[in-house]
């Protein structure tokens, strides 16, 4: 079980298109702040930032797309679904806001079949509850 109430003192890292924040010792919160086409190199930047704030640790990723109409390039979806992520990430939760992003999340989950457990949620609380169902060492 995880404790999502334990707050981190580490500040967030601002990239040009998103904010990456260590929410607690187990969760990284990625908030997309700009409408744009997200390419594989953008996601690589996010992963590298996660590595820097969670050095050598497994973590949960909370991808928040509530305020933007971000688009993901197909190559980005393929890369995100790849097995390499399973080496560092327990699970991915998406909070898509718009209808088109919900459908894109469905596409990712059903067609790309990501190696890391992933689900889309309507709100952050439901995502947090899902994270708590994972038994971690």
């Amino acid at each position: 079980m995880i404790d999502s109430t334990e707050k981190s003192k580490i500040p967030s890292v601002d990239l040009e298109f998103c904010q990456v924040k260590k929410l607690n010792e187990l969760i990284v919160h990625v908030v997309y702040v700009r409408s744009m086409l997200i390419m594989p190199e953008h996601v690589t930047k996010v992963y590298n930032t996660c590595d820097s704030i969670m050095p050598g640790r497994y973590f949960f990723m909370l991808d928040h797309l509530e305020h933007v109409q971000a688009q993901f390039h197909p190559k980005t979806l393929t890369m995100s679904a790849d097995v390499e992520r399973a080496e560092r990430v327990y699970a991915d939760a998406f909070i898509p806001h718009s209808a088109s992003l919900k459908m894109l999340a469905n596409f990712y989950l059903k067609m790309k079949k990501p190696k890391v457990p992933a689900r889309a949620f309507d709100n952050v609380n439901d995502a947090m509850d899902w994270f708590k169902t994972f038994e971690i060492n």
Partner: protein, 130 residues
Amino acid sequence: MHFERILLLDDNETTIFVNTDVVEELFPNTPIISFTSSEKFIEEALKTSEWFDTPTLLLLDLNMPVKFGYEVLEELEEEIPDMDEFHVIILTSSNLMRDLERSSRFPNVIGYVEKPLTLKKLNDRLNGEI
């Protein structure tokens, strides 16, 4: 991307005719089954479990006279517990966000296309472009 079959549901026969051409071009060896009645489609779906057990794509018209596309999905969701291999692309001439929002809550809906359907639009959606 491989589908065992592609289903078309649209109340307009001309649209079915045109969309069949587009689908055949993208999936030349895949069986295409078309319906102009949502009731007949649901009746057939409920007795054809392979539609939900093996990769199947449904191109679903949103605005139909008897049932809206999302009402068809609601009925399927109530009757069929596991639709993991059933994928839906919504076809719509309406860009009403309310209708799209209602359709997007179904996990089987992987995209939408504004009519008319073209090869490029279908190909883009099947590659995850929105």
